[in-house]
Symmetry: D2
Subunit: 503 residues, 4 copies
């Protein structure tokens, strides 16, 4: 009895990596874990900071504080070693942890952990800690993709290709300049992530159920212990608008996914048999269950699906946040599931695209060939005539339009000297143009060499564009590093205070 | 060492049922299974029908056919007894089942199952079978909710309450009439579900990868064996538009969830301390982790979240279906996850709301009391004056508006005889109105008794509204029953043919 | 001093028609008229039916009735001759008309028109009348587009072209079969429009402010006079859910625009220089303000924009309809503007696309040429080997995959006899394949001739697909005609009753 | 013959202002002007800067430059005096202006204006200039609303009211603290607007059709003359992503409208007869066409509609920006109409809400009364017992929950001494609580006085919250002022250069 392996793949040199297989198979054969699994370590961190503050403020005794902190650290260990599983009969992560703590250290001490807080500020805290880490991870991913784009852009700063508008040949450009355009978009994505941190890296702990507490909390201390820039300044606001940090991230991700989806669509088209300008690495393609010859750009198509998903999640988040009543509304609980799904779906898109960019093969010969076709040099000719004969661009344009039409009628793909002369004559413009010039001027390399202003696709300007983006990338890297250092320091400070309290 | 149970609940007589707890806790502590788990039985059914057809057509031999069908039935048994688990290393359900079949009966026979089909038509088939069952289940749920509404509407067809517009007291109505309004909306939801069946209960199997096959398939036979009204009539269409049956269901669910969300919001407001007109059963409420007195209408708030979710999913489905290229596009795979999530999230909302409606307590005394306040009878007075004195409504309205203003200045909540006289005088309208009439006419019961046209809130008309809806409900029930019988018959026919083949 | 005309166009043989210019220039240079302009004739019709009913019921006197009806007819004449303009200082169309009526016939009679109704049911009525007409117009437009598709599908039922999946060459198909796929989708759009009529062609007049009236209205009569299937059966429902008829149309339009957008995107790609399989007529293209050679498929791109717009409008409609409170909510007024904008934007898309389909030129030679490339016949070869040698498809697929890879290494675009033999040997399958067969079997025409099951792209089946759709189209035409006749009859009846009353 | 005025209003002391009437009547009786009307002055400014740069660079002669600049200034004058109307037969604003210029100064000079640019970068420029002004205007509006909120928050920093969660009485708060919560949200809206300026105040002029030009442009100079921070750094990016500045503004507006909608919904509920805690000014309400007593909070309901609209527009913008192909795509033209509609619809919402906040009347007595009801002090009691007897909060909570239940059974609305003793006994907690303390502790004023941590609703902390926000507001004002000054300076510089050139 014979066996068979994969349902396709006989044609491929390299099969997809596990990461890509996971990316493509989506949730067909893999489930999604309980959302609060992702919050365990954040909830414990928040509880430790809260307990430490209660202790320092004298709201609970050092003895109770020590017991609670020890208990929480033990639960943390259990969790890290896979011995703490969420119990679905307890409503949520908060109840799970508090119940376990109480069962381990007793209600007399354990029952004091929740003093001066509510699940409303607790989950707002957990989510901000979770979202902050996601923002930083997205930041890393965006930077890596920009780096890959800049590297390839550098290699291809002189690789001439047709620039398109409306899916039609427009003017000459370079492949490097194209990659740079996407890098610019991603740099704005990076700015949106930084902006999230500017707005939302503030500590909601202490907001209670939305109206605070009569216990004298030290919200500056918990902010410090949790790596925040400071406490939120109104107790009701973060509880009432518990969809806004989620929406801001969803929007930033949505725009980023749109950028990726346009890059994906561009690569899909450029890699068709018909365009034939780039070739995806085998590992980003998959085969068919029946067609033996297929090599499908699945990774890129999936990215488009995820862009559509981001739009849907954002719609849900904005819809839930419309027309609430003052204070907490339970419907905002669902924002947790939505943003987590979006994070899970979209985060891998960055590394997949980074890999695609790194490995994509470029058909330079065909690119140059195509850049000479379909009257791609007509604009260059028009600009040259305008400049050379001090004519009005409007008139020259009409001339060249006519010349294109006559040349097309002759079956040509660039403006011929004859048709240009005919057009000039018709328009009664008396200038003398040499055949050689007409030909040379339409060559894409020549036009590119002349496109020297800021942002243009000449090799020199491309190099400057790369340098400029590299400078800004340096700034972005620094922001991320500083943020991460701040978080690490907060954790270290809490641990140190725990040790001191322990003595 | 003392223990503690739930973090809240000391105030409650009845705690939420497990169904409600699950509904409220969402995905906090429960994960989501792999999507293809939901498709196992559909995929097997489709494969059995396909194999039977291949056999009947002589495309595979009876010997191979028997082996394949036996193998598929065995996998079905394994699945039913929990012994068949999806292997994540195989891409999807189709690969999982085909691989297992091949490993059990060998590639010589097992390798023939996929003859004349592709994963593209296979998943289109699986999804239609899955979606059809969901549509039928939603149909059952909608009917049950309408039944509950009609029952309570019958009980409260005479329960006078204030009708609101713009959140303000407008005119008298009954609680029964209000429930009936929602029943009408749900009946349209039912029609949308029926419409889904009219459009999409057609068999895509045979579409292959979107361009058919050279094997001579009998698509009418597979349609019959799978309970379809017939085959889809173009191979490319169902593969290219693989988001449309999903979108149609998402839209139907979206409108339905909007109906539920408005019913939810209405109950939330009517049950506030301030309105105090209805009281939710304890089991639909939950408590707070810190405020001992809380009784929150969480079930209803969650329904609003799920309405927002439906909107987001629909957005994603429509966005992914925009501007595709001819044939299959991989991004449509994601529609599977989206619609499954939506089904999972929204289906329980119907039974929760049915339970809420069944158990909601009505404060009839307060309703009547409120219906006498805030000039609720002013319109009745206006209509009565218009009719009694053959005046122009526009003039009378101005009179009553003035009378309301004067009465309000006196601190009254209904139009006084004096203020009416003053207004009439001012407007120079000479009619003589008796004090007793002015008072009587403003009583809500009187006005309601006079509201006798179709669809109006009088008790008699309410009764007719219930009867009308009951008639239409009978039709809806019959549609569902007929559809379900059709599906059962198809399954029986396939089993019978398998037995015959086996002989 | 020389002059210049259009900024582009020198290259074009035919310039866009005014309809297309309007379609493309969008709202750049054209404003949008006040929304209620579109409602004038509906509001007058509704008022006439209402006044007639009041008269027949004896709620107003025949004398008042006659005056009112005469006044309304006069306003209608003024409107038709452009002499009635909306006065912005009056809030809306209802106030405008009622005020004008009163100023013309006096408040004693004119002030009675509003007896037994409210602006809430009045606008609900106006919108249903408006929407019904739009639904019928969309229906006409969809049918015309289907007709155009069927006509071209008939011409090209034998025009072989590559079928694509994932933007890659997949299997052979015909251009006619492709057009038919879109016609099928549009037929579902037609069904959705019919469904709208089934659900919403009911008369809300009499719902008042949402709670009816004490006047004894004859809602069956007004329903008859306005061409409705009957009155809505609950006064609150149509006022509370004043977003749902709008949303249902927006959804139907949204799906339809998605169908058009995918057809548009398919034409855009097929008409690129690189694909070169179709050519749009000049009149659907536009030029550039600087690039003399451009011929951009603007009409098709704009259709994609409008598909995105439909999605947004649907989002707004569903968002506004979420979590309302019982009765009327002012926010639903905005649904009027949204749906009117959507209608204005999307209605022309149908006729533009119909024109595109009618005029598109097909490069049959290139289509056939491409259908022979890129291993398009590999699946045909696999199916043929499976059938001919009674092999398992799975094994044959692996063989052909390998053969594709070896042939590709040789620079070929179809499977060579040698590579197939090598693959068979490697897989230890001992069958003897003739070179001639290997070649013939891969020819697209041969495979197409064998694709004979329902829905497949062979010429014969294509013909049957066209016939099937033509039959269904006949049914659709009949539905529209019957609906339109019903509306005409209602208008005639009202006029007749007015004449009788006048005597 | 008598006349009648408005269809309602007899009950009102103050009728709505024209601004509010316009806000409420929406587009019923007012049309929308052509979109490019809004761009005339931006397009002229851009053309002047471009012409000046061409001149300085020697691309056109000083003579041509002077003629062009003079011509453009004349068109500007015509426009300002209403003598320049868009001609719909010309496609857009760019063609309109260029044609007019050419007809006035001849094609020899006028035909040179378009040298080195394309309509693609021209419209990208116009939109950035337009959007920048809108962002600044929104910024002004947001600041004014925050100021109004802070002023009223200051007045009501001691106005005790019930805080709600889940629409239920939760804990005591102040009206001032509630207003402050919304002010905090708006301050984030302000930050999003600033962020827009950080990202998008860059000059796209020079991008041409997306691939630049061979003319040697001085993009730094045009940036300076147009008040930009500098040129965009890649020619393709701003043309390809022509939806992104629009989407960023739509998102910022969407979140802001959500904030307003929640404030609106809160005011709507608090102003119902049932809540009775605030009263809207007459001018923000409207009446009914039939119910004489109505006073509807229409202004606030309309704001909710506009929040839904913002969500829809954002959906369209993101949908159109998904999966584009490299370079310009015509569908992005529609982003212009969408964002302009959103701006027109949402900008007035800020000033309307500012007016609502300024004029809203607060029922302090009823607020205090309500704050003593429904066990609002139960949490205060729990916190006090926890603190006073060094008990575990978890245990005390169970005690108080039971006590609430027992008190409720006695028909009370606050925890009685007896029920508390009973609960303590049941839980076997031996502490002695005095009746007087139980009563005092539950008083809202007392609890509020103790809520002293950052962000809490005590009067003192409220004052600090106001001060903190005032500080941040100062920063925001400075950002706006600086930006506006920058724009003015750019205009002055251009005028000065024109004068110099003129000499």
């Amino acid at each position: 009895m014979k066996k068979v392996g994969k349902l396709w793949g006989g044609r491929f040199n390299v099969l997809p990596s596990q990461e890509i297989i996971d990316f493509l198979s989506g949730r067909d054969v893999r489930g999604v874990s309980a959302c609060d699994e992702r919050l365990v370590s954040y909830d414990l961190w928040g509880s430790r900071a809260h307990a430490m503050m209660l202790c320092k403020r004298g709201i609970i005794s050092p003895r109770d504080g020590k017991k609670i902190l020890k208990g929480l650290r033990e639960i943390d260990s259990l969790y890290r070693t896979g011995k703490f599983k969420l119990d679905p009969s307890k409503e949520d992560i908060h109840s799970n942890i508090e119940s376990l703590l109480i069962s381990r250290i007793g209600i007399e001490s354990g029952g004091k952990l929740h003093t001066g807080r509510s699940r409303n500020d607790q989950i707002a805290l957990d989510m901000r800690l979770y979202l902050r880490d996601q923002v930083l991870e997205f930041g890393d991913g965006v930077i890596q993709l920009i780096e890959a784009l800049l590297k390839r852009a550098g290699e291809h700063r002189g690789t001439v290709m047709p620039g398109y508008t409306h899916h039609q040949h427009a003017m000459a450009t370079t492949f490097g300049h194209l990659l740079l355009a996407f890098a610019e978009g991603l740099q704005r994505d990076q700015q949106r992530l930084e902006h999230w941190l500017d707005i939302f890296n503030r500590n909601p702990l202490g907001a209670g159920a939305g109206y605070g507490t009569s216990f004298k909390l030290d919200r500056n201390l918990t902010s410090k212990l949790l790596g925040f820039d400071g406490p939120t300044e109104n107790a009701t606001d973060p509880v009432m608008q518990r969809w806004e940090p989620e929406a801001d991230l969803a929007y930033a991700v949505g725009v980023m996914m749109n950028h990726l989806s346009t890059l994906a669509q561009t690569f899909i088209l450029l890699s068709t048999r018909e365009f034939g300008l780039v070739r995806l690495d085998d590992r980003h393609c998959s085969g068919s269950s029946i067609m033996p010859q297929k090599r499908n750009p699945d990774s890129l198509e999936v990215i488009k699906a995820k862009a559509a998903f981001a739009q849907g999640i954002l719609t849900s988040l904005l819809s839930v946040g419309k027309g609430l009543f003052m204070g907490y509304n339970r419907e905002t609980q669902w924002t947790k599931y939505w943003i987590m799904d979006l994070v899970d779906e979209s985060r891998p898109a960055l590394s997949i695209m980074t890999d695609v960019v790194k490995r994509i093969r470029v058909n330079k010969a065909e690119m140059l060939e195509q850049a000479r076709k379909d009257f791609l040099g007509a604009t260059a000719l028009m600009e040259w005539m305008t400049a050379s004969f001090n004519l009005s661009l409007r008139e020259v344009k009409t001339v060249v339009e006519k010349a294109v039409r006559y040349s097309e009628m002759e079956g040509l793909e660039e403006v011929s000297h004859d048709s240009l002369k005919r057009a000039l004559q018709e328009m009664r413009i008396e200038v003398s143009v040499r055949k050689k010039d007409v030909e040379n001027v339409q060559r894409p390399e020549g036009w590119l060499a002349r496109a020297q202003s800021i942002g243009m696709p000449s090799e020199k300007r491309g190099q400057e564009g790369i340098a400029s983006l590299n400078r800004r990338l340096g700034g972005a890297r620094k922001v991320l590093t500083t943020r991460k250092r701040g978080i690490e320091k907060a954790k270290e400070l809490l641990s140190k205070m725990e040790r001191t309290l322990g003595r």
